[in-house]
Symmetry: C2
Amino acid sequence: MLGRPRRLALLAEGNFSLLDAKTAVGILRYRPREVVAVIDSTHAGSTAAECVGIGEGIPVVGNLAGAARAGADSLVIGIAPQGGELPPTWRSLVCDALRSGWDVIAGLHAFLGDDPELRALAQASGAQLIDVRRPPAARPIAAGRAARIDALVILTVGSDCNVGKMTAALELCAALSARGVRAAFVATGQTGIFVADRGVAIDAVPADFVAGVAEQLVLEAAQDADVVVVEGQGALQHPAYSGVTLGLLHGAAPAALVLCHESGRHAVRVPGAGTWRDLPPLAELRRDYERAASWVAPARVIGVALNTSSLPEDAARQACERAGAELSTSATDPVRFGCAALAEAAIAAWRERRAARADAPRGRHAHHA
Amino acid sequence: MLGRPRRLALLAEGNFSLLDAKTAVGILRYRPREVVAVIDSTHAGSTAAECVGIGEGIPVVGNLAGAARAGADSLVIGIAPQGGELPPTWRSLVCDALRSGWDVIAGLHAFLGDDPELRALAQASGAQLIDVRRPPAARPIAAGRAARIDALVILTVGSDCNVGKMTAALELCAALSARGVRAAFVATGQTGIFVADRGVAIDAVPADFVAGVAEQLVLEAAQDADVVVVEGQGALQHPAYSGVTLGLLHGAAPAALVLCHESGRHAVRVPGAGTWRDLPPLAELRRDYERAASWVAPARVIGVALNTSSLPEDAARQACERAGAELSTSATDPVRFGCAALAEAAIAAWRERRAARADAPRGRHAHHA
């Protein structure tokens, strides 16, 4: 999606925080060498690390000129706003970037390339508008094919949006690779696509084809991998996005789930709904995810990934221990404490799957492998 | 969507059966006065009623000329093919209809209006291309609002696709109206839209907005109704479409569900998957639908709608009795045996809801009403 080596300016004007600038933070964490500046006039003069804890030495600048001085040649829309529209106050900055010939890369639902003004500006200067959320033209219909492959498919699922499902998947995939396992990451959201330079923003796909697209992504990834780690989306308990979650769960047809949660989050966040209902205990979330998976193919939670970024270190360790004890499984903050136990659990699940499939006649596994 | 009184020819070439021509059959059942002919050369010379049991006196003709002689002025694509593409062999017939100045109305995923050749033909003759499945431009995000309205929302849910969810919803809505209840039908699929002349094909909406669109449809319908009956889609157990089902369930946030099933169907139909897993018993389906609903707002199954079209009358009655006994609830084939018991159950649920909301302070019902 990034297409070529780039010098990125991440636009996060007025929103450069861990909570609001999910996309910018993801790119800073996983592609830091391509980022030359973050644009947020409310934090100009500081560094990315000072604002969000990552991006040592990357300057936060106040405007496009500042980003140009830092050497930028491309602008990334660094937020994932509810509803997926370009914030109106950012429009003139995007126009200026296009006039300067910068490519503009976005993961919004409102495709920049469909905007006549922006398209005209891009054509005039030779800049590219890259909408990573635009769905593929193909309309595949899922048929449970991902449940029948030899590779172990792992999906990260969560208690809510923005709890760390992408991060857990990337960290687990890296930990598996470090242990010599042929592991592949499947990106299903805009930030994951920026990081992996491939994938599909599954939430922008017409609903009938969500599972089909997920199935295809898994089948493709499994061609070169023994373990496929799929980035989860949304949550079964989220009133707006649960359909995306279930479509992805049934299309990817994982045998293993990693349950992701942010320590200290007690309710699903639903803008426009005031307080929403309390989150159930992790054990109940596990039961519901495993039940929902079983409607198409059985899956079990092999570990918990906690996002403990709001806790001091001691409390974070205790939170992981509590979660692990509650579910009798391994639990870690993959960013803070590494992914060793999750990787070991994944490898064990993969060995089990391999043994089961070697033992059993193939036909009998058509529906339940 | 039909826009004006029309004289419709329903195109079902080679597919005019109860199983394959779902859209044509739905229009024949609920808007028979607007249909002047069905096009299917393999059944030319017979009547619609002879082929599918409804459409007394409506001729099946072999080609466009035959439909023209019957007085047609508009062509409806009468099937809902897997994947939603126009069958290639129908293309020349659609082109001929456009050349004759007929409007062409379709509920396909592949929008006819985006096809350059068809668009050019329509422009040349002044014909309209009407794609009822094209999603609305708005991108609403659901926030559980439909759970908080005074009206009772009823959703039809099912054991599979094409078991009678739309029909059950339409029949229940009519039975409620006949009993003096202000009831509104919400169409969520192409055939429902043809019948109701409004609605959104929820399965074509980008996945992030399925629940939001469903929520808006319910809120709008509730402005003039005490009971809102929503047409369900797909099934939680379907590997391709479960995400649509859950998004609709959480967006519409019904308090009452009608469980729909086709007698004699023992497995979910998944083209491309060979045989798929067996359907669970109705009691298990009920448990799963009620559980999934409860993730956002509680709902309970108030009755069963069986499609017994494959059974003789005696066996059909027995099937309804068995289903009712199994779930300790009312069960009927709404087309064959009417909807009285379902309507009574719905009215009882509506009275209960009204009483509960009158008793309780409003604030306490924000999340659980």
